[in-house]
Symmetry: C4
């Protein structure tokens, strides 16, 4: 079995695993589950980790050039090998983005906009979860409920940053830095989409003008064809007269 | 009567209703009206709600494919059906944007800029009203006067976010999130307009160069036409001599 | 004397007046001058106001269509007629921008960048002055020295907005809103300049490719010219033989 | 030896010196080294300053037009001549950017993105060091550890600006202003890269359409060539018959 074939087969199961993982993680973080429920959720999280570890191993095994794949996918090893820093596990959710990648959007720009809107929404949700996870047990933390975390994530990704909520732990600040960079990327894509739309609209009118400027060229060529046809007829006449 | 015809007829009355609604809502929120005056304003607000509900029903009735129209206009149903969450009612004011849509601006870019400036001003006003409405009665709220609310709306839509004012209720935060997204869109449109203007100006000089590069092609074609005209004359001469 | 001629003559004196005004205003605001020095500075400020008022009157007098000029320059009347709200007087300093307008920058983009950098620096300085002027006497104000005001102006125009300094008076907030909008415009121009540079560089390589694609067309045309020259020679031969 | 030749030779040693300088400076600032260790680090810092001073002198000596080079490189003199304001010395690290300049990135846009990402990371690190250096000894300072400084630098360069950390000294504010401007530039480059990518992708499809529109022109030219070939054959026939 080739790696590509494996990936096609594994895609939907992996996506399902990612969703199960996200649900269990969200439940654990938001619900502050205690007792046997907590053990169950923890077991589910480890199970999804197992699935991702197996997926990594399978990819490595099936890769054409294993050394090359290993070196170019060090980040995947990092995500799989460090399951103890929980927010990092959320990075596995990038698999969910491939759903967005295949959805709607007939034009290139439409696809880009859909993708960015979906990615931003997912980022806010995942960022809020991650920051809540690492902050809620810290002393002096300001982000203590999921509502606060979501509000903080939105003010961060839009680069507004009121400062009523902000992370105080190192882990929370790393999550924040990731969200800020995403915010800049989102802003960039929004602006770029509008700019490219405007440029195209303006260019369409310019091109229409350019085409009408090409008209005389075509007319001249058409005239040439007619002239040469006339020439042939005249020469044919010459020949006919000669034939007489 | 077709739906399009109805919409053309209903447009101005709806816009007037939206303005009356905005005025009454602003009065109620900013004036903190009490007693019989409050009852009157409330009656006016419900009346305008009635007009919008009738408009929704008429649109649904006159639609060619009612099921299709219903599914594609679920957001309108939401706005009409939930008049109890007051800031949401302000969404009806998007009707006012169509005034901007038809105003001035001869070029595409001019239209975009006018539209965005108008939309941003309306957004700041409406956002300030909405946030004041939901915040002013909350304990620990920071936004207590319309001046504060307008100042907050401006710092939010420009993504500056000092943090001297921020909403503390869930409803206020939703309003804030909407304003932030508008801010990103405004920023995007401003940047994109300048970019498209710059690109066009630079391209104009490039195109002038390209045109002068096309000159030899045209010259060659012109030469061809002359040559063939010469040919015809010579052949005509041939024929004439023969005729002698 | 035509209005254009007057404007050309008046430009440099007006610019000097604007500089004198800026210096006197800055001195008054930053130095918190008291006593006879204050009276002198106030006299200088009123004198510069007088010059601008005379300039407005002269422009109106010399305009071809006075009614048209009056209606299209209402903002100038506003600036001249309201000398009592001091920060507004600073708007007269837009005259200083015309210096930037004529400085360096051989390419369009170079001019835009120079202009924006200069305008941003002027805006920060003028915005800091204006906010200090209206805030320093307010109770609970946070902006009390020119250093603080300049720092606040920079955090505002870049839309960073830490929130350690912010205006608390209505006039100060108006100044802030103007600075924020300038910030968005500056951001837009910077982005747009980079974008247009990138687009142009990418297009240059595309155009080179397009030109090489046009090569066969030119070759074919050249061949045509040769062929027709051959034709002429052959016909000439025909004639020569006949002439024998 | 020409200046260019000297620069080529001096490049790698200078880069090494810059790295040594950065390491010693970081150690001194973060480690708050005391006693003999501090003296050693200070000696290293002065040594690197010496290297840069010698480099400046050599460049001036080898320049073709010394007066011209001196006037156009006043900023280098400033950096070399003012070693007492330590954060300014960090400006020498721009030499490190030339490493980025020559790394990877086959396309223009790829190079730009690599360059910006590297420059932003370097800026955050250097900005954090500089602000920590000038702030940590100030009373009422909020930025007291390198972790705080790095967090502050990230919130500043992304223009989020929560306001939980901000510089309080004039020197720290200058560093902050530089970081904010870099942030705007970074944002601009990110947006511009995406915009130019989008514009190019959209244009590719437009160009494909334009090429297919040129098809008939080519067809017509081909027809012309055929017609003229026919003409020649007929004239040749004419001549042959005559020859009989």
């Amino acid at each position: 079995m080739t790696q590509q074939r494996y990936r096609d087969l594994a895609e939907w199961p992996l996506m399902g695993t990612a969703l199960v993982f996200l649900a269990a993680y969200a439940w654990q973080v938001i619900g502050r589950v205690e007792g046997s429920g907590a053990d169950l959720l923890e077991a589910v999280l480890w199970l999804t980790w197992g699935v991702f570890a197996v997926d990594y191993a399978a990819n490595l095994w099936l890769a054409k050039d294993r050394r090359h794949w290993f070196l170019w996918n060090l980040h995947e090893l990092l995500i799989v090998a460090l399951p103890f820093f929980r927010p990092l596990r959320l990075l596995r959710l990038v698999t969910l983005l491939s759903v967005l990648h295949r959805t709607v959007g007939e034009t290139l720009r439409g696809r880009v906009v859909t993708y960015v809107a979906g990615a931003a929404a997912l980022l806010v949700f995942v960022g809020a979860l991650a920051v809540l996870d690492v902050e809620q047990s810290a002393p002096e933390a300001k982000i203590l409920t999921f509502g606060d975390a979501a509000w903080w994530a939105i003010t961060t990704i839009t680069t507004v940053g009121y400062g009523d909520m902000y992370p105080v732990t190192a882990a929370g600040r790393l999550v924040a830095a990731a969200l800020m960079m995403s915010g800049i990327a989102v802003l960039g894509v929004v602006t770029a989409s509008i700019a490219s739309w405007l440029v195209q609209r303006v260019e369409e009118s310019t091109e229409a003008a350019a085409e009408s400027a090409e008209e005389p060229l075509r007319a001249e060529l058409g005239q040439l064809v007619t002239e040469i046809a006339d020439l042939r007829r005249e020469i044919a006449e010459l020949k006919d007269r000669r034939g007489l």
